[in-house]
């Protein structure tokens, strides 16, 4: 097959992947994630577990070590069918705590310790770099297969260049789809979708080759089984230690490999997907393993001796002349390699950027406050640079190791390295006593042993550790020999490193945790992680037998809100002399907390919750009934409150208005009575005084006449007042007998002007009228209307203070209403008094020349109301102005 076609197919495939990622990203942004986030896609994305090491290497592994390769897939199978234990919890924690990587998980659990984050990041980079190199190598090798085995006979131009191009292309793809945006959840829809497609391709490719081998080359299942027993593989040495150890390490690795954590926890969109993956992923693994042994057996049989069994997947179809199948197999291998590299690069870049680059940048930037957007940009940039750096590291490693055989074993070495996180992880999510001191000690110990016993020696004799150290130990200390710690010789190097690293890792983790004391943040996080299911299933899910401060704080935070709760706890801790720590749960403190909580949830609930946490008291039925009662009351109360608050507001407003009115009325009544008294007593005073004078003394006749006249006048005034009062009372009660008649408005006005001329007849007073407009019939109680007109004209005569008083009367007809305006040229009525003039006794100036009791306008208002019209003061007319509105025809 020509090299160009191979390259063209690879490029085309890459373009398709770009397209898939692009479309998925677009759909996800448009809110159309839908099936992109199905359990199927989730399961397929997990397939990055099967790298090129699986795709090509499993067959080679089987050819060399029989069925041992199966342990690599059986371990994860056990983890997945046991998903209820660990996976479910990890995913829940990952979602609840917004965990962005395995380093973030460890850092977050142990009090957001960045030291642990950095530690795990460094370990992950170190363990993953050779693995990435392995992927680059496998793709390069597969190119080489086509180069050497085809009749066209082209030679692979330059392996290094192929690997470089591959690394560059992967960097581009990962940066494009891995750092498009900073999602708080660190999810990458495009990449996950592309990986799912690649998962299908590699599965189909491997199944196709397997089917071809079993039914094309061999004679079916029975024949293959016979061939297996006949082959050299049948004599494989099963090492029980390796069987168990590798199963364990692969089970650990599926939880702790950074890339697996990325797809399994970080990219998880729905917890229920884990349930599906619990059977679907083992199924995928089984299918990937199904034809490994047959391919190995047939390959060993038909391929020339000495050919690399790692490449049987490619070479068998090629030698059988199935070029297209070989091409498919090539694409499968290509998919396995690229998907692993992409996800590993994203996972590592997230860790490097979050735990190393960004904190460093922020630390260096201290003091220069910058906009948050700037930080975002920096984070994105550091992601991109980190992705580039991770791939550059992988390529460099590949370049330096020169594709040595050491790479073949790197898969398992990498697994053991990743597994060092296991004690800190499992301890962290199941044991609240785990502390960051313990975690750090365990990680450093385990990782150190792994480096010393497994990683460094893997570079071969005189690689990074000299032969002398390997044989005699550092500085000649025998019991420190890298592959024979404590003088125990003869162990399989991998098992030796696995045993000691995990054992000492776990031991130091436990000892460190038991011996140290966690900080408040750490204890809080510990509760949040360990009790993740209790917390999300609502309050009261506390399983502890004794109240611990973090339980109480955690609960209080949910009830009081984080700030308030923390303030309270800090104050209490300070009171106990433990500034900066959590307070001890003394009876005094618990009682105070209970009171504090009671303010929010009610006393019974508060008591029951505290009782549950402090464990001493059990919750009685009475407690529960009280709780239910409180809850019910609160529920009803809040429902009612909502409905009632509006009504209450309305009622309150109405009450306030009514009260104002009553107060007003009362004040008015007092004022009215007081006024009546005054208005009656004033004329009576004159009458009494003068009548006594007339009775007592002899007076000249003219004086006697004068005084009698005064008495007469005052008596009339008194009568008029009583008439007015009676009038008003009748009018106000609307019991007036209407005397409807018809009259010409002009005549009425003329009569009013004439009658009013009695008032201050001495005054020069001009009345301006427009007779033409006044001629119209009005159907109403004409006497009452006349009374109103007289009152208005008299008022004008009395109060108009102009030098030459002029009253203008204007009549306008507006539909069925006639408006009669009386406007004088005086100074008018002050604004503040305008509202008062129609009130009883609202006489604005002194009575001396008014001669009335101040009831006139009040009576006018009542009359007009009775006649179905109105009388109003017209402001802004130059003088005092009144407008009388009257319906032309009184509706009776």
């Amino acid at each position: 097959m020509p090299f160009n076609i191979l390259v063209a197919v690879s490029l085309l495939y890459v373009v398709v992947l770009f397209g898939v990622a692009f479309v998925a990203e677009r759909r996800a942004r448009g809110g159309l994630a839908g099936w992109l986030r199905s359990p199927l896609v989730y399961t397929l994305s997990l397939s990055i577990y099967c790298t090129a090491w699986t795709f090509y290497g499993a067959v080679g592994y089987a050819a060399r070590s029989g069925l041992e390769f199966l342990t690599i897939y059986l371990g994860p199978t056990l983890v997945f069918v046991g998903w209820w234990w660990v996976l479910r919890k990890l995913v829940r924690i990952g979602r609840a705590q917004r965990v962005t990587s395995i380093a973030d998980l460890i850092s977050s659990r142990y009090g957001k310790s960045n030291f642990l984050g950095v530690l795990v990041t460094l370990m992950a980079v170190l363990a993953s770099t050779p693995y990435i190199a392995l992927q680059l190598q496998s793709v390069t090798l597969s190119f080489g297969v086509f180069a050497s085995d085809t009749p066209e006979g082209w030679a692979l131009p330059d392996q290094g260049a192929t690997a470089l191009w591959l690394a560059a292309g992967l960097t581009l793809f990962t940066i494009l789809f891995g750092t498009r945006n900073l999602d708080a959840n660190e999810r990458h829809h495009g990449i996950v979708m592309a990986i799912a497609v690649e998962a299908v391709v590699k599965l189909v490719a491997l199944l196709a080759v397997g089917i071809f081998v079993v039914w094309g080359v061999a004679g079916g299942v029975a024949d293959v089984l016979a061939r297996i027993d006949a082959s050299a593989i049948s004599d494989w040495n099963l090492k029980p230690g390796r069987w168990a150890g590798l199963t364990f390490v692969s089970a650990a690795a599926i939880l702790t490999l950074p890339r697996m954590f990325q797809v399994m926890v970080v990219e998880n969109a729905d917890e229920r997907h884990v349930a599906t993956a619990s059977w679907a992923f083992p199924l995928y693994l089984m299918l990937m393993s199904l034809f490994v042994v047959p391919i190995a057996v047939v390959g060993l049989e038909i391929m020339p001796a000495g050919s690399n069994p790692d490449l049987f997947v490619l070479t068998i179809p090629l030698s059988a002349g199935a070029g297209k199948l070989a091409l498919l197999a090539f694409l499968g291998g290509f998919s396995s390699a690229t998907s692993m590299v992409i996800v590993a690069a994203i996972a590592l870049a997230t860790m490097v950027s979050n735990h190393i680059v960004t904190p460093l940048w922020l630390a260096l930037r201290v003091g220069s406050a910058r906009a948050p957007g700037d930080v975002r940009g920096i984070v994105l940039m550091s992601r991109r640079l980190s992705i580039g750096a991770v791939l550059a590291l992988g390529y460099t490693y590949y370049h330096l190791s020169g594709g040595s055989a050491a790479l073949a074993a790197i898969g398992l070495i990498s697994f053991v390295g990743a597994a060092q996180v296991l004690p800190a992880m499992i301890g962290g999510i199941y044991w609240r006593g785990a502390t960051h001191v313990g975690a750090a000690m365990g990680l450093i110990t385990g990782f150190g042993i792994w480096l010393y016993c497994l990683f460094l020696p893997s570079f071969g004799a005189d690689g990074l550790i000299s032969t002398q150290v390997m044989a005699e130990g550092p500085f000649g200390i025998g019991w420190l020999r890298p592959q024979a710690l404590f003088g125990i010789v003869g162990l399989d190097p991998l098992l030796h490193a696995l045993f000691w690293s995990i054992l000492l890792n776990t031991a130091t983790f436990l000892i460190g945790s038991l011996a140290s004391f966690p900080g408040p943040m750490e204890r809080l996080q510990g509760v949040a992680f360990v009790n993740i299911f209790d917390q999300s299933s609502g309050p009261g899910g506390w399983v502890k037998s004794a109240a611990e401060a973090e339980d109480l704080l955690s609960m209080s935070q949910r009830i009081l809100g984080p700030e308030e709760a923390q303030r309270f706890f800090q104050a209490q801790a300070a009171a106990q002399g433990k500034l900066g720590f959590l307070p001890d749960p003394t009876p005094d403190f618990i009682a105070r907390l209970e009171r504090q909580l009671a303010g929010s949830v009610g006393a019974a609930t508060s008591h029951a919750m505290i009782a549950q946490l402090s464990g001493g008291a059990t919750v009685s039925v009475q407690d529960l009934i009280a709780v239910a009662g409180e809850a019910q009351q609160i529920k009803e109360y809040s429902a009612q409150l909502e409905a009632k608050s509006d009504e209450l507001a309305r009622t309150a407003r109405a009450l306030r208005e009514a009260n104002d009115k009553l107060t007003d009325l009362s004040v008015q009544k007092d004022a009215f009575l007081s006024q009546i008294s005054h208005e009656l007593r004033t004329p009576m005073t004159s009458i009494r005084a003068f009548s006594e004078i007339l009775m007592e003394v002899d007076l000249p006749d003219e004086m006697r006449t004068k005084y009698a006249g005064i008495i007469h006048d005052e008596t009339r005034r008194l009568t008029r007042l009583l008439d007015d009062l009676l009038d008003l009372s009748v009018l106000e009660n609307r019991r007036v007998q209407s005397n409807i008649g018809v009259a010409n408005l002009h005549d009425l006005l003329s009569k009013a002007v004439t009658s009013a001329s009695n008032t201050r007849p001495d005054r020069a007073f001009v009345v301006q009228r427009d007779a033409a407009s006044e001629h119209m019939p009005v159907f109403t109680d004409t006497d009452r209307l006349l009374q109103v007109f007289i009152n208005i004209v008299s008022n004008a005569r009395k109060y108009c203070d102009a030098e030459r008083a002029v009253l203008r009367i204007e009549v306008k007809k507006r539909g069925r209403i006639v408006e009669i305006d009386f406007i004088d040229n005086g100074s008018g009525i002050p604004k503040k008094s305008q509202a008062l003039i129609f009130e009883k006794f609202a006489r604005l100036t002194d009575t001396s020349h008014a001669g009335g009791a101040g009831l006139g306008l009040a009576i006018c208002r009542e009359i007009m109301a009775n006649l179905g019209g109105s009388i109003d003061y017209l402001p802004g007319q130059g003088g005092a102005a009144f407008r009388v509105r009257l319906p032309l025809k009184r509706a009776s």
Partner: protein, 125 residues
């Protein structure tokens, strides 16, 4: 009562006429003012022996004028007869608080008025 000088502040012309007649007949000099405006200055000029003051004046309350008088040292001891047409106890109390020497509700008997003014004129002399 002879040669006594009485100032009357009353807005009702007929009532003022009656009081002036009643008091003048006893040989008292009566000065009438229809409004309370500038009462202090007027009293300063008139220097009366007794002041007869209506409680409800058109421009200002008699109580106000009284309070003003009592605040001035020159009139702190001036005998003041308060007249009111409202005759309620509240008014009487208010007048006493403001420092009225005597109080009469309208309508009053001429003899009562005379007796009170005579009493005040003697005390103030």
């Amino acid at each position: 009562m002879r040669d006594k000088h009485i100032v009357l502040i009353e807005d009702e012309p007929n009532i003022a006429e009656a009081i002036r007649f009643i008091l003048s007949r006893e040989g008292v000099r009566v000065t009438h003012h229809a409004s309370g405006a500038g009462a202090l200055a007027m009293l300063q000029a008139e220097r009366p022996d007794v002041l007869v003051l209506d409680l409800m004046l058109p421009d200002r309350s008699g109580l106000e004028i009284l309070a003003e008088l009592r605040a001035a040292p020159a009139f702190a001891a001036l005998p003041v007869l308060m007249l009111t047409a409202r005759g309620q106890n509240r008014d009487r109390e208010a007048a006493e608080r403001a420092g009225a020497s005597a109080f009469l509700a309208k309508p009053f008997a001429n003899a009562d008025l005379l007796a009170v003014v005579r009493e005040l004129a003697r005390g103030g002399a």
